[in-house]
Every structure is written in C-alpha cells, then in structure tokens.
C-alpha cells in the first residue's frame, strides 16, 4: 500500500509537470505526407513537433506521440522540407556596393531594404534565410547580414549581424589584376601592422599604467576579426586564375574563407579541392560552353564537377536570371544533367547553412533546429511543384493562397 501511494505521488508529480509545461509552452505538431528532414533522409508521413519556434521532435507517426494539447497542422498532402538557405546574395540592397575599393567596416545591415521585391520573391521560392553581402566591385566590400525574407524592418528580418566579409579579386574601375592584387595584399599587410602596433601600444600603456584602449578602433574591428579567423572571408573569384590567387591569399594570411566563384572559375576545381575550401557556385551553374577552336559545344554542369571533386558547395541564384531565378530551379537543372539528388538538396539547405556558421540551426529538420519549414505540393525538384506555405520560426509567413502579388502576376491587375 505504501508502495502504491509512492507511485501515486510520483504520478501526480509527473502530471503536474506536464500540465505546467503545457501551460507555459505552445506545442505545434505538423503532420506531413513526407518530411525531407535532411538531404539524404526522408520520413514518410513524418510528424514534426515544434515548441517556441524550435523543432523538438520529428519521427514517423507510430513512433511519436502527439501531445494532447498540441495545435495540429494537418499537411498530410504536402511534402515538408527545411527552408532554403541562400549563402550569398547582393540583392535586396539599396545599392550593391561602395565605389571605394577598401571599405571593410561597412555593413549591409545599414542598406537592406525590406521592401525590395527580392525578399518577396525569395519567400515565394522557399528561402528562409539569406546572407546579404556587398557586391563584387570592391576589394574589401564590408560585412554581411543574415536575414529571413519576412518582416517590415531590418530588425524584424535579422537573424545575425556581421557574418562574412566580402573580399573581391576581380579588378574594378579600369585597374588591372596585378595592381588590384598588390593593393589587396598591401591593405592586408597594413592592417596586420596596425594591429600589431596597437597590441604593442596596449601592452606598453598597461605596463606604464596609462589608460588602456581595450578595443581596436571601429574601422579596424572587422579586419581584425578577419585576420584572426573570427570572420569568414567570402572571396569572389571571377576567373580560374583568381581562384588560384585566392588560395595563395588564404594561405598567406591564414584566412577562414569561402570562395564565391564566377562562371569561368570552375577550371580551378582541382586546386580548390586540394585546398579543402568550400565554394559558392555562380547562378548560371549549368551552361553551354563553346570551344573557340573547334566550335564544339559542351554542357558544363558546375555542381556535378564540384561534387565529383568532393568540394562542399552551395548554389546561388539571381532573381533577374531566366535559367537561375531560384535555388530549386538551379538545383533541378543540375540534377537533370547529372548531379545526385542528395548533393543538390544539400547544396540549397545544409551546406549553405554550414557556410553561414548556422549548421546547427538551419537547413535540416532536427530537434534543436529552427522551425523553418517549406510545405511543398510535390517533390522539391519537380518543376510542377510549388511552395504552398512557408513557416519561419514556427509561424507561417507565406501562404500561396494569400499571395496577392502572385495573383496579380498571374491574372493581371483588375481594372
């Protein structure tokens, strides 16, 4: 009898705890036709539990109990996958970059325009997070900002500030490549020298008992982080030769880097693979190349080339491009011409998330990850599929049925 009472007390305690949890936390359960939880894993009729914008559980319906108090979203006719991640874009800015070449301290945070059509379009195409970086027409272009394409102010959109620093190896403004490279190195060396001098001065001041300036001046902060490897360099390589020089630069200055490749830079795939650096491929990743001598036309499938070279890669799109307007379009095109499905899905979800340093938060459906979910009408790489709803941080931010702008696009404005 005593034993029974102990059990009863325990049971009451458990119930109370559960009731307390339920009262404090709002649980959402999503029933799906299939949950693509990662690039290489799919759970048929998977159920996803979400609390406070974070995924708490995902499993097959028989193996997961939906709490009695959960709000159930029945999407059992939809395929659900993680929200797409854009690893590099210069769209959505008021201007893409400064015309001065060395401006590492500026940030896209100050220039993101929430009302640029880019964000509306990105959301419609299933993007849940995008790194907005300065354009390529500079040397040190400034730092990037990770945003979600939903919200009326930059603060609402913000996921993370000061992510990545744009370093461009393509000369702009009539300069030649060797001058560009030389100035780039000189700038880095000057910063190295400044930071070393600063540290010496700090030490001397501390020893002499003078007031110590702890932090480096603001305009040197970003370069300090870059040189210390705390900020990733997003190095734009227009050509294959640029990619070789980027590898030299990364080696010389011990940078943490991601290479943002131009259309021609794929020829350096072997060298990039040896250096074990991840890349972001150009929007037109599948294209026709004509041999100037023989006139032979060859289809180049850059994602397939880099997959074969075992280089981690993320895909990119450009909303003004016809062939590469959205990430799934680029991925589907690459798969159509020989890329594996697993690699293609990873290149628009998990890999870009990793490049953004959010590999444990974005790009997969896993406990602990943000509840960024796409509800698709079919397979993600099927051109007939569309994004029906987008959930970011557990809340629906896009519903196709409510997309007035799309309706106008399709039906025309009512007179």
């Amino acid at each position: 009898m005593r034993r029974i009472s102990v059990y009863a007390a325990l049971w009451c305690g458990v119930c109370a705890a559960a009731a307390h949890g339920a009262a404090a936390r709002h649980v959402t359960a999503v029933k799906t036709k299939a949950a693509i939880v990662a690039a290489d894993a799919e759970i048929p009729q998977g159920v996803i539990l979400i609390e406070e914008g974070v995924i708490t559980a995902v499993d097959a319906p028989g193996r997961l109990q939906i709490p009695w108090n959960a709000e159930v979203i029945d999407a059992s006719d939809k395929i659900v996958m993680p929200g797409l991640v854009v690893a590099h874009t210069s769209e959505g800015l008021e201007r893409q970059n400064e015309s001065m070449p060395d401006v590492p301290w500026i940030s896209t945070f100050d220039a993101i325009d929430p009302f640029q059509p880019y964000f509306r379009r990105a959301l419609r195409d299933g993007v849940a997070a995008a790194l907005v970086l300065p354009g390529n027409a500079t040397r040190f272009g400034g730092t990037g900002t990770i945003v979600k394409p939903a919200g009326a102010t930059v603060d609402e959109m913000l996921i993370q500030r000061r992510v990545g620093l744009k370093v461009s190896l393509a000369p702009a403004g009539g300069l030649n490549r060797m001058g560009h490279m030389q100035k780039l190195r000189e700038f880095l060396r000057a910063e190295q020298k400044f930071l070393a001098d600063f540290q010496t001065a700090k030490k001397e001041a501390a020893q002499a008992g003078r007031p110590v300036q702890e932090e480096v001046p603001l305009e040197h902060k970003d370069m300090e982080d870059l040189l210390a490897g705390r900020l990733t360099a997003f190095v734009y390589c227009q050509s294959a030769g640029d990619a070789v020089r980027a590898l030299e630069l990364v080696d010389e200055f011990k940078l943490k880097a991601v290479l943002v490749l131009g259309t021609d830079a794929w020829r350096a795939a072997g060298a990039i693979a040896k250096a074990k650096l991840p890349v972001i491929l150009p929007p037109d990743a599948v294209f026709f190349d004509e041999d100037p001598e023989t006139g032979e036309v060859v289809r180049r499938n850059l994602p397939a080339i880099f997959a074969q070279a075992r280089v981690p890669f993320a895909l990119q799109c450009h909303s003004r491009s016809i062939n590469a307007g959205s990430l799934w379009q680029v991925a589907a095109e690459a798969v159509r011409h020989g890329l594996g499905r697993k690699e293609a899905l990873a290149a628009i979800t998990a890999t870009p998330a990793q490049l953004l340093g959010l590999g444990q938060k974005l790009g997969q459906i896993k406990p602990g990850f943000r509840a960024n979910l796409l509800f698709l009408t079919g397979d993600p790489l099927d051109p007939r599929t569309w994004v029906d709803r987008v959930m970011i941080d557990g809340a629906f931010v896009y519903e196709r049925a409510q997309d007035k702008y799309l309706q106008e696009l399709i039906e025309g404005t009512k007179q």
Binding site: D102, N176, R177, M178, G179, Q182, P292
Partner: protein
C-alpha cells in the same frame, strides 16, 4: 614467417614503384637541342615532367612507355621572352607601381591554344607598357598545372622609356575612413608627361630606397627597359651604367644603331619582330623606318657584336616565335643562332636556363615535335609537350572524329592541284577523305595501309569517252552512238551497264571519272553522262546529264553560228516567258484563297523546249557547256556568240586552232579539253596543244576521246610529259582541271578533306615509265581487283 616478410617487402617495393612516375620516351627522332647540336635517330627519355636522358643509343628502362615519332624533329619548347598575357585590359593608375607582380594577372587555366599550337611553352609576362615602372615581370609555363606553372615569380624589374608611358592619369587616393576633420583630398597629377621627366623620374626611382630598386642595384633582379629608338636605348644604357644594373633592352627597334654601346654595357636585347605574318599590318613606313626594317634589322648587328638576343613576334601574345626568328634570319641574323634566340638564349636572358630552353638531362620535359627541321619549308608543329604531357596535337578533331575507317600512311601525296607532300597520311571515313597531313593520329578501329615509298594521286578523269557503248560501226569510233532532236532528252547513260567489266578495268587503271559523250553531228549535238567506273550500282551514275555539247565545226560553220545565235535568242525569250509564268503563278497562288467566285484563271506554262531547258540548267551553273570548235575563227566566233547572246562561258573541245585564236580566248573560255593527238601539224607547223594552252594560260584537260583509250589516259598524259609538259601540269590536266570543268570539283579531282576518297596508289611517279597502279580506292572502297594482291 620468412615467406611472409618477403611478401610484405615485395608488396612495399611494388607500391613504391607504383608511386614513382612512369618512364616515358619518344624514339626515332631528330633532336635539335637548342644549344647548337643536331642528333639523328635520337631518343628522349623523361619521367615526372623532367628529361632523364636525350641523345643517341639510350637504353630504355624496363616498363618505359615508348612511342616512335619517326621522321619528326624534336626541339625545345619555345620561350616567348616578352608577352602581355597577364596585363589584361586595365592599367594601374599609379605611374610607379613597382610592387605589382605580373603573374597576379595570369590566367593559369586559359587554353593558350594559339601559343601551344605554334610551339610556345614558356612566356615572360610583362607587367605592362603604359606606366613608367609598371611592376615586376614573371616567367610562367603555358598549359602547365598552376603549382608548376610559375618558373620565376619576380623575374625582372620593368621600366618603360617609350612614349606609351607618358601622360599617366590623375591619381585619386583618399583615405578610406574619412573623419569629419579630414580635408577631402584632390586628385594628384603624376609624372612623366614629357620625355625629360621620364628619364629623371626613372633615375630617381632607381636611386631611391624602394625594395625592388635596391634589389636591382644589387643585381639580384634584372632591370628590363622597354626602349625602341636609339635615344631611348642610350638613355637606358646610361641609367643602367649609373646605378650598376644588369640591363635587358626590350623592343630594341633601333638597337642595331648602337650595338657597340650595348655590347660594351654587357646588356641583352629582347627584339620584337616588325611584322607578324597573318595579321594586317597598317603601320606607315617612313623612309627611315623602311631602311631600318629592311637593311638595318637590329638582330644582325647585335649578333655581330655578340650581344645576347632573344626574339619575339610583333604581337604580344607569345605565339609565332619560329616565324619571328625566321624573319630575323631572313634579315641577316645568323641562321644557326635563330633557334637559340627563341629557346636557350631566351632562357638565359630570362634567367631560367636551369629549368628549360634546351633538350638536356635535368631540364623540364617541355618540347615541340616539328614535321621537319626548324626553318625548313613547310615545317609545322605536330605536337607540343609541357612537363612531359602532350598539351597540343595537331588535328585533334580528326582524332576525335568517329568512324575513320582507313588510314593511308606515309605516302608521297600529289594532291592533283599542285600540292606535293612527302610522308603524308590520308584518313578516309566512309566514302570521303576526312584528313590529310603528316603524322595524323589513327582513329579507333581504323585499318592502316602502310604506303611508305608509294605515291598517291587522285582518281583520273576523262572528259571525253565512249567506253562501254560498244559502238564499233563501219565508220570507226567517229560516228556517234545516237543523236538527233528526238533523243536529246535521253541520257546517254542508257547505252552502258554499270557492271560491264570494261568499267572495272578502267577503274583498275586509275580512271575513276568518265564523261560519256553523245552524238556530235548536229549543232546541239547531245548531252554527256558523267560516270564513275568501279563504283557500285547506286554510285555509278554521277550525273545523267553531265554536259551540253554544241558543235560548230565542219563545213556548215557559218550556218551553225547563225543557228546558235537564233537558239540563244529563242532561249532568252523562253527564259523571259518562264519568268513571267513564275510571277503569274506566284500571284495566282497568293490570291487564289480569297477568290471565292473563281474568277482567277490559272496561268498556262510555256511549252517545254528541251534545248532551252538544258540551257537553263547551264545558266544555273549545273551543266557545263562544251563547244567543239576547231579553227581559230570558229573558236572566236562561237565564244563571242555564247557570251554576247547567252552570257555563257563554255569549255572548248579539241580546239586545235588555238594558235590562231585571239588572245582573249583565255578569258572568255572556261578552259579546253584536248583530244589526241595532242601534237598536230597545223598549217605546216607542229603544234603541241598542251604546251600551247599552258603558255596562253588556258586551263586544259587531257581526254582520250576513245573507248578503250579511256583506260590509258595516264599514258596519254605521260606522252605529253615526255614531250616537255611539266608533270605537275599533266597531273592537273587529268585530275583537278577536268573535275572543275565538269563542275564536280567539290567531290573529285583533288586529295583534300571532304572530297570523295577516289585514290590511286602507284609504286612510282604517275608519269614515270613503268610506274604501276598498286591499289585503287573508289569512294573509300578498295577496288575488287586489288583485294587479292592487285593486278600483275
């Protein structure tokens, strides 16, 4: 246990052997080492991108992948001692940017096809031509992997004393992080804008404490000055002397005029050829420049003073080095130094002689295979190797083309239009020739006929034959098989059978095109048929109507000329009527759909006139017009009538009166078909018709005008050769000229890519007495009679 150890050891050895790069070799070569020696029957052994041995009688290690390159000449990879391959379109805005390094602008993965195809494997990259100190030059290898490409990152400090460096742009360099208290900076002017400041600025820079200037003063770095005129060169010499620099003069157009001073200063010269073949050269040639280019060419004067000279082509792209060296050699530069000026000497001037520039043990395996000795006529690059890898091979496309069925290897090829190429290969795919050239790669699965020592000519063409009609009337071969208006629209090919053995015999003698003639008694005497002896049923009849014969010879010549004129006027009306009909028909078909009441009448076509129909074809260029005219006045008359009334240019048949015809016959007739006897007694004088045509510049074909005679066309031509006709002209007269006159030059009569593979293999020159036909190919197939060892 012991066995185990042995096994493990063996395994380890095998693994080690696998890791070391494989031995490779090219054998049977003539090696021109680039340092003056020429080795016959040599071998080059290389491994891992480095030459291990080169010379005669080299023992090949076991497992060497050796390839014979018989007949080819191996030279070192050529070195372009000055290029702008890294400069790109832009320029640094600074007048002095000594820290710039040229290989920062280099595209490692660009194909460099032009350069590699002309044998260039290594290039000096200049930092630029339009700034006073544009930077430091680099030396790179083309077509090499990036980790091996850079031979010297900082090969030389560059200065520019030519006018191109004058007038640098305004320099705008504000502090990037402006504070409110900073004044906004203005753009700065830069020197030099005048020649005087150009030298002064450069002097100040070289004296100064810039790191690169210090290195140049310490002779750790060569100082390269772009200088063309005598004044610029003297200024460069003075600068170098004052600061104690080791100097290389680049450009050096007038270097010959101060060769002595250059020699005394111990400087070297990278000389830029004035002219690049293949490009339009629009430079104005002043009298001084003309003297300089033709008589005062710098390399000759420099060589005379033993100044080291490297030569580059007029373009800055590093291609065409052999041509540039040949240009210098043609202007007095010693021939024996010409190759060194683009190989070993260039390497020494660039300071990379330890890596490349000659064929020696320990040097990089960068070399070029030529079809003949460098600077010999027609020598071309067959293949280029960089680091032991083939990076260019001629006619890769032919190699890639599928279905090359047959390779005729190594014969003397007489192309039929004047070409004479020894040791040449022909690739046949299907019924066509797909490639002609030396050392062509053998396509997969192709059969190879080794024809070394043999001669290949195109199949012969007889433009007047009666073979196979078996017409042997009482009057002999002169009478026509058939003629007259009622049979005019029939093809004479109806008279012959494709499987008649006479055609196989004819093909066996190498005659693979026959124009079978119809009648010849009337003005419009008939139409010929063009046949292909030896071809199968489908291919035998090339054209049912191969020519239109007009005969104005004989006693009724005046009447015939008048009739011809009438016929041509009739034809003009016919043509007009046809045109009107076509227009009316167009109008009718256009309007018909909207003509509900059916009021429109369909136009009536003009009645068909067979002769005019043929003339219409002739007008469209589909049917050649042959005119039989003997006497000089006949020839002139008929050509005039045809030109004036019809606008036709005809082919003369026989035309023995050419010696009497006016000079303008050569321009009015398309050519002449000569019929035997080719040498005739005309008006008390012996006239050799082939030689007469050759003298007057009239294209002529030799025809047999016989039945059995068609078989012996080659001997007819040989007879003409024995009387003094050039063998080359005789071959044209039985191959390319008849093909052209018959309007079939796009498929027969020459050996070239795209033509039918109608080939005759002989064991000697085609017109040498006793030369035999060894094999005949008709449309790519070996003739039946030759499949069992040939005719004996």
């Amino acid at each position: 246990m012991r066995a185990w150890i042995a096994v493990v050891c063996l395994g380890a050895c095998a693994a080690a052997a696998d890791r070391s790069p494989p031995w490779r070799a090219l054998t049977d070569l003539t090696i021109v080492t680039g340092t003056g020696a020429t080795i016959e029957g040599g071998t080059v052994l290389f491994r891992g991108g480095v030459i291990e041995a080169a010379g005669e009688g080299i023992e090949l290690p076991e497992g060497t992948a050796a390839a014979s390159a018989k007949g080819q000449v191996l030279i070192p990879g050529l070195i372009a001692a000055d290029t702008l391959l890294a400069a790109g379109p832009g320029e640094d805005e600074r007048s002095i940017c000594a820290a710039n390094v040229a290989c920062d602008g280099f595209e490692y993965f660009a194909p460099f096809r032009d350069q590699l195809a002309s044998g260039t494997t290594c290039a000096y990259l200049s930092a630029g031509t339009r700034r006073l100190v544009p930077g430091q030059g680099s030396v790179v290898k083309l077509g090499a992997a990036p980790e091996r490409a850079v031979v010297a990152r900082r090969a030389a400090l560059e200065g520019v004393l030519t006018a191109a460096a004058l007038g640098p742009p305004l320099r705008f360099a504000p502090e990037p992080y402006l504070r409110p208290e900073d004044p906004f900076p203005l753009a700065e002017r830069q020197l030099p804008n005048a020649r005087a400041s150009q030298v002064a600025e450069l002097r100040a820079f070289l004296k100064g404490d810039d790191e690169s200037a210090r290195e140049a003063r310490a002779k750790e770095r060569v100082f390269r000055v772009r200088a063309d005129t005598e004044r610029e060169i003297r200024a460069a010499l003075a600068l170098a002397e004052a600061q104690g620099l080791s100097l290389v003069i680049v450009g050096g157009r007038e270097a010959g005029r101060c060769a002595g001073e250059i020699a005394r200063a111990g400087a070297a010269v990278v000389w830029r050829a004035a002219f690049a073949p293949g490009a339009r050269d629009l430079r104005d040639l002043s009298p001084d420049r003309a003297r300089l280019e033709v008589f005062d060419c710098a390399p000759a004067a420099l060589a005379a003073r033993n100044v080291p000279v490297a030569i580059v082509s007029a373009d800055f792209d590093g291609a065409g080095l052999l041509g540039a060296a040949a240009f210098a050699a043609a202007h007095g530069f010693p021939r024996e130094k010409a190759l060194a000026a683009v190989t070993s000497e260039a390497a020494r001037i660039l300071g990379i002689a330890g890596r490349t520039g000659s064929i020696e043990k320990g040097k990089d395996a960068d070399f070029v295979l030529l079809s003949a000795l460098p600077f010999s006529e027609g020598a071309s690059v067959c293949a280029t190797y960089v680091d032991g890898e083939e990076v260019f091979a001629r006619d890769r496309r032919a190699a890639a083309a599928p279905g090359g069925d047959l390779v005729l290897r190594g014969a003397l090829v007489l192309t039929g239009d004047g070409g004479r190429f020894p040791g040449t290969d022909i690739i046949v795919a299907g019924d066509r020739i797909t490639a002609v050239g030396p050392n062509l790669p053998v396509p997969d699965g192709a059969r190879v006929l080794d024809l070394a020592g043999k001669v290949v000519i195109p199949g012969l063409i007889d433009l007047s034959s009666r073979l196979g009609t078996h017409f042997a009337g009482g009057a002999g071969d002169q009478a026509p098989p058939f003629s007259g208006a009622e049979t005019f629209h029939l093809s004479v090919s109806a008279m012959v059978r494709h499987d008649d053995p006479v055609f196989a015999a004819c093909a066996g003698y190498g005659v693979l095109g026959l124009l079978l003639r119809g009648g010849e008694s009337a003005l419009f005497a008939g139409t010929g048929a063009f046949l292909a002896p030896g071809a199968g049923r489908e291919d035998f009849l090339v054209r049912p109507f191969g020519c239109l014969d007009i005969d104005v010879s004989g006693s009724a010549r005046l009447a015939r000329l008048a009739a011809l004129r009438n016929a041509l006027r009739n034809f003009a009306r016919y043509e007009e009527a046809r045109r009107q009909y076509r227009e009316a028909l167009d109008e009718f078909t256009h309007r018909k759909p909207r003509d509900a009441e059916g009021r429109l009448k369909e136009p009536v076509p003009p009645q068909k006139d067979p002769i005019s129909e043929f003339l219409l074809q002739a007008r469209r260029g589909e049917l050649p017009v042959f005119v039989r005219a003997a006497r000089g006045d006949e020839i002139e008359g008929v050509l005039n009538v045809l030109a004036e009334d019809g606008g036709f240019a005809a082919v003369l048949l026989d035309a023995e009166g050419l010696n009497r015809a006016g000079e303008h016959v050569a321009t009015m007739a398309r050519g002449a078909v000569l019929l035997p006897p080719y040498r005739r007694r005309i008006e008390q004088a012996w006239v050799d018709l082939p030689q007469l045509c050759a003298e007057k510049g009239i294209p002529f074909a030799l025809a047999s005008d016989g039945a059995a005679g068609s078989l012996y066309l080659r001997f007819y031509a040989a007879e003409a050769v024995s009387r003094g006709l050039a063998p080359d002209a005789a071959l044209r007269a039985v191959t390319s000229v008849p093909a052209r006159l018959a309007g079939l030059a796009d498929r027969m009569g020459t050996i070239a890519r795209g033509r039918w593979a109608n080939l005759v293999v002989l064991d000697g020159e085609p017109f040498a007495p006793g030369s035999r036909v060894e094999t005949v190919l008709v449309r790519g197939k070996v003739l039946e009679a030759f499949k069992e060892g040939g005719m004996r």
